[in-house]
Symmetry: C2
Subunit: 272 residues, 2 copies
């Protein structure tokens, strides 16, 4: 999916919601465990219930990898089930030397047909560049993450700036706002305005709303740009909103609440 | 595998060779393509030919992931085929927030039974710690990598020290020499002695010998410690040493050359 299509989708749906399919077989409703592929059965129901409210799905590969081969089968079924026209993100945080990074890019863009993959920047340009050479595909590079550990290195000073600022500033030279986004955690409200100033045009994938405590209002007021420029992810707060037979309805209600709030912020941005 | 067993294996075999199974179906001898699982057939022959010369095998997951589910099947067959008593490394370079990192640790330690997994440090303590809580399992954290891109961030100054030094110094506080190693690239000879000084007791996994140009002699003289403390990886230089029917013999000869050279350096270290 290209940028124009993504921006169009956001306007049409009045939503910049990304639903995170961090599906853990230990946490899904028990009645699904009798299905041949319980994880896919869960995801299918969540997708059916939310596909008109979100603009993206993010699949956290760890939750599938830990189940071995049947996990990858669930992942493949899930990504194939997501309706075309919705942005798909492999949250895989890959990063390796050039020839290996190329294999990872092929994995997620060619083998599984994702639109985007999250990429770790520590190994530098040759580890990121291979993800930027596919037409209408995206690298989403870790900038400033939502977790406690972000202070260990990302918030250390490299000269006058934080490491995460150095990372974003440097990585911006390798791609464009049409093939490169950054991960910026929702809990990092003290930094959000600075990040937007640093990268005015790029989309940010913002995890950390919901279970991790980030505020949608703050994120939106601090980091929205003229094209919205945000994909705000909620995983647990949506997919585990309920745990009974009605879990998909509960998930829809949770997603709807986000979408309605987002629609207000989008209107305010147009008005402002 | 615990540290005592690893050190014992190195002494017994007079080798600190890690064979990297970066198996690319495009590069394996054509006669293997008629096998039901060509990648596993190749790996099986390489393992049979080298298993008495090396102390570790490193599986670069990217080369398997890009083949989809059948790639993971090849990976699983391969790791199960490696004789017990040889150290196994999933070169996966994972790194994510705590609850996701736990899933990755389970993936490689429980689902696939690797001894060790490579871990990216950018996201900080909660992304690394879950890999350090398994008995007789190892996290091998990226310190200073062998690629050109290492200069982009790893060789930037954070205060008085390089970022990679800050990373190694910080991560050392989270684990011990019994459950934590570092990746230090063979091409980084200017830094090797400094890294050894920083982490005198830890094992280093050293990729970049062979195709990437690192010198085994330099690495060994600069970074060996009293327990050897090195696992030197060669991938392409061994597994693609030949490309005909005799590829496994060619691989054995290449591995034997490394092992013989290593045996000299180990003797010199004992003598010195």
């Amino acid at each position: 999916m290209n940028r124009q299509e993504l921006v169009g989708l956001i306007k049409e749906r009045q939503s910049y919601l990304c639903v995170g399919l961090d599906t853990d077989i230990q946490k899904i409703p028990k009645h699904l465990l009798s299905y041949p592929d319980p994880v896919f059965a869960f995801n299918k129901a969540i997708i059916d219930a939310t596909k008109d409210l979100c603009v993206a799905y993010k699949i956290n590969t760890a939750f599938y990898e830990c189940m071995g081969i049947r996990g990858w089968e669930s992942l493949q079924r899930t990504v194939e089930y997501i309706p075309s026209g919705i942005f798909t993100i492999a949250d895989a945080k890959r990063g390796d030397i050039g020839n290996t990074a190329t294999q990872y890019a092929k994995t997620f863009f060619d083998t599984y047909k994702f639109d985007a993959v999250t990429v770790a920047p520590y190994m530098g340009e040759d580890s990121v560049a291979p993800f930027l050479s596919f037409n209408e595909k995206w690298a989403i590079v870790l900038g400033l993450t939502s977790n406690e550990g972000s202070k260990d290195f990302q918030l250390q000073k490299v000269g006058e700036e934080y490491l995460y600022e150095k990372v974003i500033r440097t990585v911006m030279e390798w791609g464009t706002p049409d093939n490169l986004m950054f991960v910026v955690g929702a809990t990092q409200t003290a930094q959000l305005a600075a990040v937007r100033q640093l990268a005015p045009d790029h989309f940010f994938l913002v995890p950390g709303v919901g279970a991790q405590g980030g505020s949608l209002q703050e994120i939106s007021s601090l980091a929205m740009n003229k094209d919205c420029g945000l994909l705000v992810n909620a995983s647990r707060a949506i997919i585990y909103a309920g745990n009974g037979e009605d879990f998909a309805t509960d998930a829809r209600n949770a997603a709807l609440q986000y979408q309605q709030e987002m629609s207000e912020y989008l209107e305010q941005a147009v008005a402002g």
